[in-house]
């Protein structure tokens, strides 16, 4: 047989932990059958998970590259692969291949900068990898602000980690918000874009956005009004993918392939693409 590994043939992964984050988001811990991390990755990269007979789908790797023991995937229930995963138990095997995509330029562009993370709902998942990477390499980065919002308190992904780890870290400011008043919630209430404007950040930060398109749109508008440049703003995209290696044509936008040239784009690069995403 051939020595070159076929990129479309996956390897086996085992689910070793399932955490219920919100009513429709669960976080799965995956390792190889030998108990190791499946492969190395950069923050913001993705992996293809599949259940043979059900299908294959692309997920962003939510755990940090600095975690050398396992990978985690926070997955929202929508579509057949995710529904199947949501009823999977510990010990279930899946297939895994990757890593895919460019990831965030944590070394090249983010180093030495103050970082402003803005996320809505499940959009925190891809950012969690970057945030924890930055926390692990604290000295290389400036101040960190995290604005995170969701429909309700119960829809905040990774709430425990946010409260017990991020909020207690020096140099990290977490700003949580939920869409509507809720009993037992004493924090901010309102939508993410408005909250970002209210917080009136200085414009020397690098902003990293992830969330539903509507949130991205209005947050971006707000940031630009505040005086941010498009070259200071990054986001990560979601498109239908099949191969993950720039060949099946599925995620093609203009001359770019999201699976290979993305999913992370700087706002000015993104705006150069034809409006088809």
């Amino acid at each position: 047989m051939n020595n070159v590994k076929e990129p479309l043939i996956p390897s086996i992964g085992v689910i070793t932990d399932v955490r219920i984050d919100t009513p429709d988001v669960k976080t799965f811990r995956v390792v190889t059958p030998e108990g190791k991390k499946a492969f190395l990755h950069k923050p913001g990269q993705c992996a293809m998970l599949s259940i043979p007979g059900v299908g294959e789908a692309m997920f962003s790797i939510t755990s940090s590259p600095t975690n050398t023991e396992f990978m985690e995937f926070s997955i929202k229930k929508c579509g057949c692969v995710t529904e199947w995963l949501h009823q999977a138990e510990v010990g279930q095997q899946v297939t895994i291949r990757g890593p895919y995509g460019n990831g965030f330029p944590v070394e090249e562009k983010f180093k030495g900068k103050d970082l402003l993370f803005i996320a809505g709902g499940i959009g925190l998942a891809p950012l969690r990898s970057v945030i924890n990477y930055v926390r692990a390499n604290r000295a290389d980065y400036g101040k960190v602000d995290i604005v995170y919002g969701s429909r309700s308190k119960d829809d905040l992904v990774d709430y425990n980690e946010i409260i017990s780890e991020w909020m207690t870290d020096d140099g990290i400011n977490v700003h949580l918000t939920i869409d509507r008043e809720q009993e037992g919630w004493t924090g901010h209430v309102g939508f993410v874009p408005a909250y970002v404007k209210e917080l009136n950040f200085t414009t020397d930060k690098t902003a990293i956005l992830c969330g539903p398109p509507i949130m991205i749109k209005f947050t971006l508008q707000g940031l630009l009004e505040m005086g941010f440049e498009k070259t200071q703003i990054y986001t990560t995209m979601e498109l239908r993918m099949k191969c993950g290696i720039g060949k099946c044509g599925r995620c093609n936008i203009g001359d770019k392939y999201v699976c290979k040239d993305g999913p992370v784009f700087r706002m000015d690069e993104l705006e150069e693409l034809p409006d088809e995403y």
Binding site: M1, N2, V4, K5, E6, P7, L8, I9, P10, S11, I12, S50, P52, G53, V54, G55, E56, C78, G79, E89, G91, Q92, Q93, V94, T95, P213, E238, L239, R240, K242, C243, I245, G246, K247, C248, G249, R250, N252, I253, G254, D255, P274, E276, Y277
Partner: protein, 341 residues
């Protein structure tokens, strides 16, 4: 060069088929088709096979891998079968160029090893096009129908077939055929080439130009108003993508069988509405966007990523097959005449 008499061609083909599976164009009910060689089969005189040689390297469906699932345990079963030597006889210049276009996709990192293995195990004997047809416009893309690329190039003269080994594996194969060929044939090859050039000069589509398109022209054409009228009648049937020698989009699908799960790769089409549909939305909601994607990819996106090489070879298959008679020539003409500055 080596040559053999016209009446000896079947001896030569028989010789090739001793060492590898050989496919030759044969007339079938629905037109010429590459068919596995067997004694008694006759070479087709048709200019083009209905399907391109793409099928041999990137088949319409192929079994990527199998799985056995028992309870929570998954076993991956590798049953690959693309390591067999084969020879294609009579590929046309356009189809041979299409392989170069596909190579740039499948052989770029990370290499698609299914395709790479087939490429390594396949030998292409091309055949200069004695009678280019009115749907041909390969010269638009700088292809010379009188001198195709390939591992071995073949010219069919009045009395003899002439062979020229081009690549290493082509030359090796030709050497193995020394017993059934003899030296010479240069004159015949020249005569054939001149005759072909005369026909090429008279083709109705010979003036179709692609030079308005190419690298970095996305902004110029993406929002052109012409897309609306051009795409209006498109049925989204995908025929054009399936007969196209350079279309390479694929889907990956699992099938449950009694003995396990089979994972297949199969051709897909950007002309289909579900190609990009997601639970979160549809980035190409109407046929206009899908239609535009197909042609922008061939004429702009592919060249942008591949040193200006176009993703079309001018074989004309879509011209004769589209049920509404839409095709890339019409697209190039319409967009080219519009003022899309």
């Amino acid at each position: 060069m080596r040559k053999c008499k016209v009446e000896n061609i079947y001896t030569l083909l028989g010789e090739i088929s001793k060492n590898a599976k050989l496919y030759i164009p044969v007339d079938q009910v629905n037109g010429a088709k590459f068919t596995e060689y067997a004694e008694g089969l006759t070479l087709s005189n048709a200019l083009k096979t209905e399907r391109s040689i793409k099928d041999f390297f990137f088949p319409q469906t192929e079994n990527l891998v199998d799985f056995k699932v028992s309870g929570k345990i998954i076993e991956i079963i590798d049953n690959r079968s693309e390591m067999e030597d084969f020879v294609i006889f009579g590929a046309r210049a356009c189809d041979v160029r299409s392989m170069e276009i596909l190579d740039r996709v499948f052989l770029s990192e990370p290499v698609d090893t299914y395709y790479a293995n087939r490429r390594a195990h396949g030998i292409i004997i091309s055949m200069a096009c004695n009678r280019p047809a009115e749907t041909c416009f390969c010269s638009t893309f700088g292809i010379d129908a009188s001198k195709p690329a390939g591992d071995i190039v073949c010219y069919k003269g009045e009395n003899e077939y002439v062979f020229e080994g081009v690549t290493e594996k082509g030359k090796n194969l030709l050497e193995k055929l020394n017993a059934v060929t003899e030296n010479g044939g240069e004159d015949t090859a020249k005569i054939v080439q001149t005759e072909i050039k005369t026909i090429l000069d008279k083709l109705p589509l010979k003036d179709v130009k692609a030079d308005k398109f190419g690298k970095d022209k996305t902004d110029k054409f993406f929002n052109a108003p012409e897309w609306k009228t051009l795409s209006e009648a498109c049925l989204g049937c995908g025929t054009c993508t399936f007969v196209c020698p350079t279309c390479q989009c694929y889907d990956i699908k699992d099938f449950n069988t009694n003995s396990g799960v089979k994972r297949f790769r199969c051709w897909d089409s950007c002309m289909y509405s579900d190609f990009t549909r997601m639970s979160a939305g549809q980035p190409r909601p109407t046929q206009l966007e899908r239609f535009r994607q197909r042609f922008m990819h061939k004429l702009v996106y592919y060249p942008t990523n591949n040193d200006g090489i176009f993703g079309c070879v001018g074989c004309g298959r879509c011209l004769s097959r589209c049920p509404i008679s839409m095709n890339i020539v019409k697209v190039m003409k319409k967009l080219g005449e519009g003022d899309n500055e």
